[in-house]
Amino acid sequence: MAKINMTLVKTPMPEQDPMVRNCNFSEVSTGYTHQMAVEEANRCLNCKHKPCVAGCPVNIDIPNFIKSIVNENIEEAYNIITKTNSLPAICGRVCPQESQCELPCVRGIKGEPVAIGRLERYVADYMMAKETFTTDVQKPSVKKNKKVAIVGSGPAGLAAASDLCDMGYDVTIFEALHKAGGVLVYGIPEFRLPKEIVSKEIERLKTKGVKILLNMVIGKTISIAELHDEEGFDAIFVGTGAGLPNFMNIPGENLNGVYSANEFLTRVNLMKAYDPAYDTPVYFGKHVAVVGGGNVAMDAARAAKRLGAEHVSIVYRRSEKEMPARIEEVHHAKQEGIDFHLLTNPTKILGEKGWVKGMECVKMQLSEPGPDGRRRPEVIPGSEYILDVSSVIIAIGTSPNPLIKNTTSGLETNKWGCIIADQETGQTTIPYIFAGGDVVTGAATVILAMGAGKKAASAIDKYLDK
């Protein structure tokens, strides 16, 4: 076995130069070479108690796949990962590894943890580059004579579909949009997650036997009850995400030039407004303000910059420390020239002839920690000022779409509109309906949604086996 690489820092990820990449939509990080991957894999101590595995929401056997990289057997590494994770090329890119698998890594006690995410991505990309990737797929060896419907083709739905298909069920995914992938195609931009990767993963699922029906809005085109009673689906998994944009309810929000992040990103990502060959327009103007501090806000800001906005600002009411976005994304945004207006809260969007002309903001300060330990933002009196902006993108969160709830009697939701489901099984108040992902938890991460999809898949198997 090769000698442990005791370097304290991760093997750096090759990246496009910030001032070049902020003008294109190609991927920011270009990925490890084989040599870099082996070098980084050699930093793993292969420790006995494997804290990384417990940190992974789908419990990938991390030390083992890294060992395969050390042995330069990438195919074996891929097989180990895909035992529990059906979308490694996606997770390797968008998982918040710093707060999951890499957080408890022993190498992180002194220095940086092993770059597990980058290694996962390397393995997946290596396999994906093969021409046979989408065609050479192991088909399920058993057939169970039962049908499962998956509503929504985002990460939760894809994970559930993959597992159920492997178990031998007849699986059909219903997608409302014209393209499968959910948030992976309409939300996360090309420069962070190339759409070709998503479509290859989906092609692979199809080869395995999963059917995907596009342009099907469940609750409108056909209801959940009809899928069950008339179309013969024995169980249904709802993974419809949190797609309803929240607005701030401040004056001026309906002016031309104000977008929800969902609309802005859908125009850019799904409808490819950045490509002149596509018809969908998008407006941004000279100075774009993005309100919010999460990954979606970073995505919107960086997309606006790439479209050609001269000046892009993030406006967030707390300080950088409280930002929910991944550190890497904040770092990338700063490198690309995005301005940060922290401890700043918009109070009014100003217009002229119906178009955005400016945004009135107040400065905020954080209170002493309350009983819950959280420091609340408070307005500093008399601190109003006007930010000179030509468009505003609101990225302050999303809620589940009420369409399924409103058209499925007996399906209960909580006060935030999230479907009530058993934490372990995903079973809802209607026994044959299971749910998981953002529609249950509210907006969260790709991997948590996938984890929920997997749990629900095994619960559906138990339910149908009875």
Binding site: A176, V217, K220, P245, N256, T280, G354
Partner: protein, 275 residues
């Protein structure tokens, strides 16, 4: 892929298409709409369902060639395919309890007003239709609408067909003559719906308008179609497209509709080879 079963030019600008879409036809109700995408590079645009046949599995749409997408759609012929066609979207029109109704269609709005008038008429309501157009060449659905109305009044701006005048003038006359409407349904240009609503407010007659703003997904996801109704923000795609005309803030709707006008004109002209 969704096959075009039948295509007719209703006039120089307006096209009728019957599209094979069994899943949509099975569920749709008057007042609902579909979203379509002509080709891979195309936009998603909402169009209201004009008519449908559940057994034969088709849905018909009527559209006016105003932008690149509608021109492009207009170049397709019978037996061609539309890439994406999703629906039915939006909330179906509520027609319960309506007994004496005046249905007003302005221009292309007649295509949307038609299924509502048909449903009301078939349910036994007294239905007066006022159909307004710029001139005789733009008149559509005259025969169809006559069949589903108690009285049909045709109005043109220049008097080249029917009576000369605005739909609001006719409506005012009918109300003054004691038509005793319990509901007015107005569908057409935003400016027409605004003035109909202002008029009926004076007489205290419940008025329903149908909004057709800019949309992408049509399922409540983007919020692009938001409008202010009674001081609250609503999404036309899921809360509508029908709203109480006395509560809609029409001026901000007009403003939002103009958002992409410049770009739209440019792309449309390029497509038509005008520039």
């Amino acid at each position: 892929m969704y096959k075009i079963l039948e295509k007719k030019d209703l006039n120089n600008e307006v096209v009728y298409m019957k599209v094979d879409a069994p899943a949509v036809a099975k569920k749709c109700e008057p007042g609902q709409f579909i979203i379509l995408r002509v080709n891979e590079q195309g936009e998603r645009i909402p169009l209201t369902i004009e008519d449908y046949d559940r057994e034969e599995g088709w849905v018909s749409i009527i559209f006016q060639k105003v932008g690149k997408t509608t021109y492009l759609l207009g170049t397709l012929n019978e037996q061609d395919y539309i890439l994406d066609f999703v629906g039915p979207l939006g909330t179906a029109s509520h027609t319960d309890g309506m007994k004496r109704v005046c249905v007003i269609g302005g221009g292309l709005g007649c295509a949307i007003a038609f299924p509502q008038a048909k449903k009301l008429y078939n349910n036994g309501a007294h239905v007066d239709i006022i159909a307004g157009f710029r001139n005789k060449d733009l008149v559509i659905l005259q025969e169809e609408m006559k069949k589903v109305s108690t009285n049909y009044y045709l109005m043109t701006d220049d008097g080249s067909a029917g009576e000369k005048g605005l739909v609001t003038e006719k409506l005012k006359k009918l109300i003054e003559q004691g038509s005793n409407y319990d509901t007015v349904i107005a569908i057409g240009p935003v400016i027409m719906m605004k003035f109909v609503s202002l008029l009926t407010k004076e007489y205290g007659i419940k008025t329903i308008v149908s909004m057709n703003p800019i949309m992408i997904d049509g399922t409540g996801m983007c919020g692009g179609c938001r409008l202010t109704v009674g001081g609250e923000t609503k999404f036309a795609c899921v809360d509508g497209p029908d709203f109480d005309g006395h509560l809609v803030d029409f001026d901000s709707v007009l403003q939002r509709l103009s958002m992409y006008k410049e770009e739209e004109n440019h792309k449309c002209n390029l497509f038509r080879g005008i520039e």
